[in-house]
Symmetry: C4
Subunit: 257 residues, 4 copies
């Protein structure tokens, strides 16, 4: 394997497909969103993306089997609407700069092959807040941008960077004449963040009229919030002790001098 390549092992014939991408990144927002879509929609896995730019280890899977790190494409037949879905997530981002560009390129070639109309990439946007996560959008055309803002997204600030595959797909999409947009959910970023993923999915649902129940994320969100408040309490306690220690030292200093 000298280059990134995509291997299709099931034949799919998507109708006006939309490709939605979410690789691991800040708060795992994209990966959580895609995995939830796959599960809820019972999408069918049909292709793998392999790359020599992924980390050089393999993972033990079920029953002692082994597999390379990879990305996976899933297909969802939309019986009621006009757009079928291709869903993509994976184990890792590329570990090299050249690999980042190569993977985004291969994903766009694959999109052309399947006559993808629109690509949506999902990521996280780092922010410290307890509010419901907002969703920022950037896009390759005003039409698709407007569709996202009508769905509840806020236009990204000029100058913001979008790092990794989610960003490079948009940057390279114009050369392939494919419309693309990126949805970034607000997240603290250091823990898996299903709340940010839900915000992004709400925008997607509104944009494309998916029949999608988001209640399945609630349990994960409650768990994640407990984890955050536990970490915050630990941090507060640590800060308090540091303060105590400082005062104690002040007292000693005063006593001596």
């Amino acid at each position: 394997m000298k280059e990134t390549y995509i291997k299709e092992f099931a034949n799919v014939e998507p109708k006006n497909p939309i490709l939605i991408e979410g690789l691991p990144g800040l708060g795992l927002v994209g990966k959580i969103a895609i995995r939830y879509l796959i599960k809820q929609m019972k999408a069918q896995k049909f292709a793998y993306l392999y790359s020599p730019h992924f980390p050089y280890f393999v993972l033990v899977s079920k029953k002692g089997n082994v597999r390379l790190l990879r990305g996976s494409f899933y297909f969802w037949k939309n019986k009621d609407g006009k757009n079928d879905l291709l869903l993509f997530t994976g184990d890792s981002q590329s570990q090299t700069i050249e690999g980042q560009y190569e993977i985004a390129d291969r994903m766009l070639d694959f999109s052309q092959k399947h006559q993808v109309k629109t690509i949506v990439t999902i990521g996280g946007y780092r922010v410290e807040t307890d509010d419901k996560p907002k969703v920022f959008v950037a896009a390759t055309s005003p039409d698709i941008l407007t569709k996202a803002t009508k769905g509840g997204a806020i236009v990204s600030d000029s100058g913001s960077p979008i790092v990794g595959t989610a960003g490079l797909i948009l940057g390279l999409a114009r050369f392939k004449k494919i419309d693309a947009l990126c949805l970034l959910g607000e997240t603290r970023g250091y823990l898996p963040d299903p709340m940010a993923a839900r915000s992004v999915l709400e925008v997607l649902k509104a944009m494309f009229n998916f029949d999608l129940d988001l209640a399945g994320l609630d349990e994960d969100i409650v768990k994640a919030e407990k984890m955050v408040s536990r970490l915050q309490k630990i941090e507060e306690k640590r800060a308090l002790q540091a303060e105590e220690t400082r005062k104690e030292e002040d007292r000693k200093t005063t006593y001596i001098s």
Copy 2:
């Protein structure tokens, strides 16, 4: 995108053109100088340089649009003089060694294609001083070097390194039989330095008889100087406090022992 490439989207027919290059580097001297030239001369953007060796993120531009990191070429029609100008600046230097050589190579191919007579590269030269920044010059031929020294530049010391695209273009230019020179403005280097850029532009103006008003940089220079003196005051205060703390500790030590 496997390699660096340049995409021209407007047709230009430059007459005896000079290419002036300034990518981000020490004090952003090159980038500030080129951007000022573009603005003052109302130069026309006509080509982009893309590279898989730039950092792997994209930037949100105006109105939520997205673009790859890139370099941009601008064209200025010189109605009164004999040399049209091509101006080049961009978002970033290459992130890999091989990319640094590749980008300089592509810029020289592009220069040959447009029959560029002379290439000027601009950078910063790190120095701690409050004086008006001097400008150092190095060049591929004595003629062009002399022209620069007549314009107020000082010949660079033997053994000085010139890092990045500004340097490699000169190093590789001899293989393409193109004259090239590099102008380095003195700068502290850690903040954008419009004063160093003005010094460089003064040399350029004298060398090529540009009709160029540099007063437009004055406002930026005043702002930059305020920033520097604010940082210097913070640093002085910090040094003073450190001194106080040290004396205080000396007193305690003396008291105890």
Copy 3:
């Protein structure tokens, strides 16, 4: 040398061969196991693997001669059983990500050329224990996995990573339709660990009915255990002194305040 390649310098005609691989890694488990097999079986060296992704130094060998870092293939003619053996070990793993994939690819091409039926890779699994090292197994097919568990190995946990050549060979083997399994011996990992190697060899012996005397490892195991207990005593002493120092400081603090 632009790419990894394998140079055969002796002609071998292996019958239904099994390839057993063990490059340096955690506790040198794989390398120790392979070297012991080579020595006990008097296997014959017949090929080298070279790569520009190995570290850029050479080693002085016997009598002042010099050699590149490399991997070495050995051949063992199995006079009594049905599977001949190819044994592989070397000086180093690849230093680059792309090289890791390239070396595993070349090893699989080589295996196809010699009609290898099964590949066994050997590595270490980090754990802090004084018990007899367990052996974990992962494999590309249930049959070969079962054979290993009957030989005493335990199925690896789902989600465990297997790093480096030992892992990538398994990950890439499915594309070449070669069965492969990985045996990981438990090891602390920071010292050469012949005990872990013996555990792995016991599984191999049981799996393939090798006539293999493992007593030759006992001396090395005794030495290694002495080294470990010496290091543990040093560490305990260091921890005790740190504790003393802390108490001493507590006393002073109390006295002063």
Copy 4:
């Protein structure tokens, strides 16, 4: 420039040439030795080696001219003996692993083209000593090794690594059927070490019966020794002060507790 290449700008017809290589490394032993040979023998520069794996800066040379980092080949016509000399030194080693292998490969291709009979590479061997530096040797054939030991060199210990171009040329030489040896002069390694270079040159002189006066190195050796003893005094003083500080603190501690 996508790859390392060598550009010849003067026509030379060497007779049974020996190539002697010395790039920057520990104590600059190789570079100092080659530069001394060039100067004493008035060798003629005839070729440059360029590589995109050298660091990405250029150097200002005399009179404000600029040049890429490079290696340089020199030719010396041996009027009295049977072997002409090719001498090679340069600004830098490769900055990437692949580049290290590529540069050694190109040097061997070049050697084949000019029918080089023997290659000598020169480097440093790190050791803390005030004695006259010994010279270690490793080689691709016993004959050439013996010649070096007769000239005063000591056979390198088995297992020693030889890092960089000096080592890889030997490792790759066997594939090109060229004899090669490496001479390593003992050096502390952190300062330019003309004494180590002289030891190496003494061996070379004895091996090939060069008419070579080494007295020209004496001045540099005296300077280097002064520098070393100055640094040693500074270090001793620093150690003494640290000791004083420690005792002072012990006294205070005793007084308080």
